[in-house]
Structures are given as structure tokens and as C-alpha cells.
């Protein structure tokens, strides 16, 4: 039966119609071969727009649909569904982007109109070759994997667990809580971070629907949306979680009487023993033994007082790596951020000059549970009288990070307030612009100003030591545009946020897309802000881009909701773009097997042909490109479809 094509051209308000003469294009399209009806409409994606297609399919006996509008990424699904409602196989629809690929990127109206014609022509040529694609549906595993147990991961985990989904929460560190666990107070309300976080942390611990894997990494993810097969690697903490009761007597009894090793959690300003917990309320309250510093591991000749002191003999020096396999239907990546390493920008003298700290170190210093018990001290133990806070360290700077880290301004204000509040020191904030664009933020900014904090709009040139351990800041006052000096006792560098160093590996393991800096990419900034480009994988928190706690929590709950809607749906469609092999054409030359990255194709010795396991096929089409017998065709990307499309964009 010959093809009957309907072409639908979207105005998208003025987004398209403002540039493209849609009527002209419609007129042109209506004369293309096999086109039965061509229409334009204000918003094709709207209910009436879809109805129009459904109606025409019945009325005009359409068996092919071309929609010229935004992009397939955005609305491909919408129009496939419409076709389905009209009784067509959804894959007999071809979407043509005349917005993103034309009206939005073309200046001249005539040119935009001409381009739209050729793109639509290509779509029409192509759709002629579309074949119905039958996708199977797979049951969805209702478990969810969450990678990263900071405030984002914890929030998402609780939302899902409370709704009865089982969550596997994987944390690289020995203890959950992420960066937030390090904070003292949160802006702008100044309520204490732990008061918010600790209840959530223990809720995680106590929720039977949450399996927590700390000190662990996700090693491998196989399978596809709805049916992921996850391999988790649990690094040995040498204290057995099943036996430990969290009395911490091992730390008591460690042969090191005093903590003498740098505490990572305390950002270098505190010390710990070889056996440690990050902080007293840590979850899980099971210490970690660090083999780098533990005598038993370094020499093998330790008296093992920790073990002797352990009531349950939970200490086990022979613990090994352990692989755990879990099956999940959805994945949420909440891998968080790291702060900018201030020593990369030498002008601040960070790491060289005493009394130059970062905001995250200050958080620990301010934290009553922190190394200084909340006391603000210089290296020599004295109390600073003059403190400088320097904003935008590593941010808004082409040499490091061009972007604004969004949270620093508020952190600086918070610290200024707390320092004044606790030690009454004179505080000066060196800022570029103060960005206080959140609920109650501007008010907070005002409040701090009234508290008498000095604000200098300045660009710091360098910090040099001066008499009695003081620091001289040389800077350009960008309001007076003069170079000035300022002497202080303490400098706090307001460092920006960055993706973790290992973002590439994480991206690869989770098969996500990242920006060039390494932030996780969302499918669409507005329409799908917590959905990744890879099916069944969602993202939340500062791993996507720097954001404060309220935004992070909001995103986490959104991601949880997205994941829930997927696993509650119960079924997913199989990958539609899989390949098929025509065994009457296949010569058994094995070239496809050689290029398949997923070992989805195998050789049938006795039939002397190749066979595909579509469960493993992820639809890249590499085998289609090489098949020298023309026996392989990839759904929705057959040779004929692509040849037709290429010809279409070029000529009548």
C-alpha cells in the first residue's frame, strides 16, 4: 500500500513562525511526493495539536507522519504517542527540528524559510522508508540506586524509602552526610546544619528500605533502563559493621594516645588517629582503619590495643574488598562537588602563609563539634582582631572557573556574621558583586551590612606577610580604581565549587553526559532538569551545578519523584534503535561481531550466520555501518532512511 504522509508544521508561537514563513513551507510540503495533507498549527505539542494528527490519521488514512517543530529529544515521545493514539505504529513518525536547527539559529527570514523547506523535504523522503518498530516492554525492577550520600542522596533516599521503594545508597567516604556534615550553620536562617542533617542521617540508618554501602564505589552498571545490574565494590574498613556497636573504644585504645594524622574531614585543620570516625554522630558509627597510617598495616608488628579494647572483637585486619551485586530499575546520581584548591592561585599564598584559610576550613573551625570546638584561632592560638574574607576564589575567573559558584557570597556573609558574633573581630569582605538572589538572602545581606562588616569591591593582587604574623592584602579597589593595601590577622578564601577530580570515571561508569567542566548534564534545563540524557538515570544536587542546600534538597526530591514514576510505572519499552540481521543475506563474515562494543552479536557456527541478542544491543549501529553483506539494519536508522534524508536536505 502506498505511503500517505501528513506533514505538521508548528509555529511554536513566534519561536518558529517569527522566522520561518510557515505558510510558504506548508504550501511547499503539500506538493512533495506522497504528502496527502500538510498543516500548520500554533502549538503542535498542545492537546489540540496532537488531536489534529490523530483526527487526520483516521480521516485521510495517513500512514506516515512528519512533525516539523522543536526537537525529537524534546517532543519525539509526544508525537509518537499521538500517532499511537491514532492507531499508527509510533515509529512511523519523523520529527524535523525547524526551531533549534533553524528558526533559532538563522538570522535571515528567507534563509530560515528555505532551510525549513529542505529539512522538511528530508523528513518526508526519510519517513517513506520508516518501518513499524515493535518494541517489547520489560518489567521494571522497583529498587533504586543512589550514588552519593550527601544531603541530596540522603533526601532522595528517604523520599523513595518512605514510599516503600528499596534504595541502595552508595557512599565513597566512610560516613554519610557529605559536605553538609562539615558545616556549622546554614544561611540565611543560621540554623545549625547538623540539627537538620543528623536526624535525616539516622533516619537513613534506621530505614529498613535503605541498604547503605559506605566506603564503597559503583564499579559497573550493566543492563538498561528498568533493569540495571549494578556491581558495587566495598573497600575494607577493617572494622566489621555486623559486629561493631559503635562504642569507639578502639579509638580510645589505639596505641597512638594522641591524634597525629591530618583529618581529611577537618579539611586539614584537625588531626585524627589511624582508626577514626569523621565526627561523633557519624553514620554509620563504625570506625575506619586507615592502613596508610596504622602500625599494624605498616609494620605488621602492632600490639593491637584497639582489638584488645574492642568488646565485640569487630576489628578485623584481614578484611578484603567485597563485591556486591544489586538489581535496580532506576539510578540517581548525587555525587556532589569538591571545593576549589586555593593553592592553584598562588597570589593568595594559601598553603604557604599561616592564617590563610578557606571557607570550608572556617566551617570546621566554627563547628562546635570541630577540631577547635568552635573557637576561631590563629595558628599561634591567639584570637584574630581583623579578618578578611575574599570572595570569588577560583570562580568567575577565566584561568580557573568562568562560572559563578552561586553559594560563596552567602557563605561569606554567614562567616562574617559569625566571626563578629563570636569574637567581635573587624571583618572585611572583598567582593566582586554580592549575589544574594534567594528567599531571604537580600535581607540577610542587609542585616550583615548593618552589623558593621566592611565591604570592599576589590580585586586582590596578592597577599604578603608583614610584621608579627600579620598579612598584607594588596588589592585594587574597583570602585575607587586605586591600588590599596589592607593589613589583617586572618584571611578566609571564599573558594568556589568544582566537580570531583574523578568525574570522568564516574560519568563513564554511570554512562552520563557532562559539561566540559564536568558537571552532570540534564536532559533539558527546564523541561527535564533532573533527568539525564541516559534513560533511567537521574541527577540531583551540586553534581549538576553549584547550588545551595534548599535547591539541592528540592532537586533531590524531584529526582526521587522522577525515579518513582519510572519504577511505579512497572514497565519500560526496550531500546527501539536495536538492529536486526537478515539471515538470508548474512554471510557469516563476522565483521559485525568484531565491532560490537556490547558483545550483543554472536556467531552461529552451524548456520554460518551472525545472530543478535537485542537485550544486549544498545543501538549504536556500528555493525550496520560495517555489514558488507547489507544484512544488518538498525531500527529508525536504516541505510535507506539515512540515504533518503541526506538526499532530502540537499535536493528535490
Amino acid at each position: 500500500m502506498e505511503n500517505r504522509i501528513g506533514v505538521y508544521i508548528c509555529h511554536c508561537g513566534t519561536n518558529i513562525a517569527g522566522k520561518v514563513d510557515v505558510e510558504k513551507v506548508r504550501e511547499y510540503a503539500s506538493h512533495l511526493k506522497n504528502v496527502v495533507i500538510a498543516r500548520t498549527y500554533m502549538f503542535m505539542c498542545s492537546e489540540p495539536g496532537q488531536e489534529m494528527i490523530i483526527k487526520d490519521i483516521k480521516e485521510y488514512g495517513l500512514n506516515r507522519i512528519v512533525v516539523a517543530a522543536c526537537t525529537e529529544t524534546l517532543h519525539g515521545h509526544t508525537f509518537r504517542e499521538a500517532a499511537k493514539k491514532g492507531g499508527l505504529n509510533p515509529y512511523l513518525v519523523q520529527m524535523v527540528s525547524i526551531r533549534e536547527f533553524d528558526s533559532w539559529v538563522t538570522e535571515n527570514k528567507e534563509e530560515a524559510t528555505e532551510k525549513a523547506k529542505s529539512l522538511i523535504r528530508a523528513g518526508v523522503y526519510r519517513v517513506n522508508y520508516h518501518r513499524p518498530v515493535e518494541t517489547t516492554t520489560y518489567p521494571v525492577n522497583s529498587n533504586v540506586l543512589i550514588v552519593g550520600a550527601g544531603i541530596a542522596g540522603i533526601t532522595a533516599a528517604l523520599v523513595l524509602a518512605d514510599s516503600g521503594k528499596h534504595v541502595y545508597l552508595v557512599e565513597k567516604q566512610g560516613f554519610i552526610g557529605g559536605n553538609m556534615a562539615k558545616f556549622d550553620k546554614t544561611f540565611p536562617t543560621l540554623d545549625c546544619a547538623s540539627c537538620i542533617l543528623t536526624p535525616k542521617m539516622s533516619a537513613v540508618k534506621n530505614n529498613p528500605n535503605i541498604t547503605l554501602y559506605t566506603y564503597s564505589d559503583v564499579e559497573k552498571i550493566d543492563g538498561f533502563i528498568g533493569n540495571f545490574d549494578v556491581t558495587i565494590n566495598r573497600r575494607p574498613r577493617y572494622v566489621r559493621e555486623d559486629l561493631c556497636i559503635g562504642c569507639l573504644s578502639c579509638i580510645e585504645n589505639c596505641v597512638y594516645k594522641e591524634p597525629k594524622f591530618i583529618s581529611e574531614f577537618d579539611e586539614g585543620i584537625g588531626k585524627r588517629k589511624p582508626v577514626y570516625v569523621s565526627f561523633p554522630q557519624a553514620i554509620p558509627l563504625v570506625p575506619v582503619i586507615d592502613p596508610e597510617t596504622c602500625i599494624q598495616f605498616r609494620t605488621g608488628k602492632c600490639v593491637q590495643t584497639c582489638l584488645k579494647g574492642c568488646p565485640t572483637k569487630a576489628i578485623d585486619f584481614s578484611m578484603k574488598e567485597e563485591k556486591v551485586n544489586v538489581k535496580v530499575g532506576a539510578i540517581i546520581a548525587t555525587t556532589g562537588f569538591k571545593v576549589f584548591d586555593a593553592s592553584r592561585d598562588s597570589k593568595y599564598g594559601y598553603g604557604k602563609l599561616p592564617n590563610v584559610f578557606t571557607t570550608i576550613q572556617m566551617e570546621r573551625m566554627l563547628n562546635s563539634a570541630g577540631p577547635t570546638g568552635g573557637e576561631i584561632r590563629l595558628q599561634d592560638g591567639s584570637v584574630p582582631k581583623e579578618v578578611a574574607i575574599i570572595n570569588c576564589v577560583g570562580s568567575r575567573n577565566e584561568n580557573f572557573n568562568a562560572y559563578c559558584s552561586r553559594v560563596c557570597c552567602m557563605i561569606g556573609l554567614k562567616h562574617a556574621h559569625m566571626i563578629k558574633d563570636r569574637i567581635g573581630a573587624d571583618v572585611t569582605i572583598f567582593y566582586t558583586d554580592i549575589r544574594a538572589n534567594g528567599k531571604g538572602y537580600e535581607e540577610f545581606y542587609r542585616k550583615i551590612m548593618l552589623e558593621g562588616v566592611n565591604f570592599v569591591r576589590g580585586e586582590v593582587a596578592s597577599i604578603i606577610p608583614s610584621e608579627n604574623n600579620r598579612l598584607t592584602i594588596i588589592f585594587e579597589d574597583t570602585l575607587l580604581s586605586r591600588v590599596r593595601k589592607k593589613e589583617v590577622d586572618m584571611v578566609i578564601l571564599n573558594v568556589g565549587l568544582e566537580p570531583h577530580d574523578d568525574w570522568e570515571d564516574v560519568r563513564k561508569v554511570l554512562n552520563l553526559t557532562c559539561t566540559k567542566e564536568g558537571w552532570l548534564m540534564e536532559k533539558h534545563p527546564k523541561l527535564a532538569p533532573v533527568t539525564s540524557l541516559s534513560d533511567g538515570r537521574f541527577i540531583a544536587g551540586a553534581a549538576q551545578f553549584p547550588k545551595d542546600i534548599p535547591d539541592t534538597v528540592a532537586q533531590a526530591e524531584a529526582a526521587a519523584a522522577e525515579a518513582m514514576s519510572l519504577v511505579d510505572r512497572g514497565v519500560v519499552e526496550s531500546e527501539p534503535n536495536v538492529i536486526s540481521i537478515d539471515e538470508n543475506k548474512c554471510s557469516g563474515c563476522k565483521m559485525c561481531i568484531s565491532v560490537c562494543p556490547f558483545n550483543a552479536i554472536t556467531y552461529n557456527e552451524e548456520k554460518n550466520i551472525a545472530e543478535v541478542n537485542i537485550g544486549l544491543c544498545k543501538g549504536c549501529g556500528a555493525c550496520n555501518a560495517v555489514c558488507p553483506s547489507g544484512a544488518i539494519s538498525q531500527n529508525n536508522y536504516t541505510d535507506d532512511e539515512l540515504f533518503a534524508e541526506i538526499m532530502g536536505v540537499l535536493r528535490e
Binding site: T71, T73, S97, R99, E100, F101, D102, W104, V105, T106, E107, N108, E111, A112, E114, K115, S118, L119, A122, E504, R507, K508, N511, T513, C514, T515, K516, M521, P525, L533, S534, N577, V595, P597, F598, K618, G619, C620, G621, A622, N624, A625, Q634, Y637, D639, L642, F643, E645, I646, M647, V649, L650, R651
Partner: protein, 143 residues
């Protein structure tokens, strides 16, 4: 010479990286030459050298293929490398057959590099404009 010559250019982009970059360029309203028409495949590994010859045969003066950055951006392990290998061998063949290999351009443009996409498209269009229309028997095939 070719004052009113408007190059015809086909751009074959992989879905994951360069097509996303093109969509980002759109949402960011970055304007570029209308000469370039995008055809998408799931992966550059899908690109068959036949497509390139087919494009030239049907009137393309230039072809760009762009995918995910090597080594590890490809969502199908190494589709980008598979394309690159074909590209190298094909370019040499084009040259032998008397088609300037500059008319086939290979790029890596990641999902976030809309600016690079704009730059590449603009550059390439000008380069092809300078080269002039493709004159080769491959054109006589045009039916």
C-alpha cells in the same frame, strides 16, 4: 568568482554529544550559516563512508561529521574511534579520486560546546565557500 555561490553542507552528528550541542546552540539562540543541514545518527560509529559519497553525489559541497570527544565521551565505548578510522581512510580515497579531502571535515563537539559548534560551522562554511562548488564526475551521477 563565486560571489553568489552558497555552499551546500551536510552535517552528520551523533545524538549524544554534537546533536545536543546543536540543540543547545538553538536554545542559546546562537546564529550560524543556514548552509549546514543536520542529519543525526545515534553514534558516529553508524556513519558509513557510503553516506559521504552519497552526500557529495547529491550536491553537497562539504560534509562535516562530528561526535563525542575521544577517548571516553562516546556512549558506545568507541564509536567515535570507529568513525575516525573510516574518516582517515576515506579522506585519502577522496584525494586519490580528485576530491579535495578538506571537503570532508571531522570534529569532536561535546554536548556543552555550543560555542564550538557555531565556530566550526561558520569556519567550515567559509572554507567551502572559498574552495568553490565541487566539480567532479561524482556530480554527473545526479539523476
Amino acid at each position: 568568482m563565486n560571489d553568489n555561490f552558497e555552499p551546500k553542507i551536510v552535517a552528520i552528528f551523533c545524538y549524544w554529544c554534537t546533536t545536543q550541542a546543536a540543540e543547545l546552540a538553538g536554545t542559546s539562540r546562537m546564529t550560524y550559516a543556514p548552509n549546514v543541514k543536520i542529519v543525526k545518527t545515534m553514534c558516529t560509529g553508524r556513519v558509513d563512508p557510503q553516506f559521504i559519497l552519497w552526500a557529495f553525489r547529491n550536491g553537497a559541497d562539504g560534509v562535516i561529521v562530528s561526535g563525542c570527544h575521544p577517548p571516553s565521551d562516546c556512549h558506545y565505548e568507541d564509536g567515535n574511534f570507529k568513525w575516525f578510522r573510516k574518516y582517515v581512510l576515506l579522506s585519502k580515497t577522496l584525494e586519490q579520486a580528485g576530491i579535495d579531502p578538506k571537503r570532508l571535515r571531522q570534529e569532536w563537539i561535546s554536548a556543552s560546546e555550543a560555542d564550538k559548534l557555531k565556530k566550526v560551522i561558520t569556519e567550515f562554511t567559509e572554507e567551502i565557500r572559498a574552495l568553490g562548488p565541487l566539480k567532479h564526475p561524482i556530480r554527473e551521477g545526479g539523476d
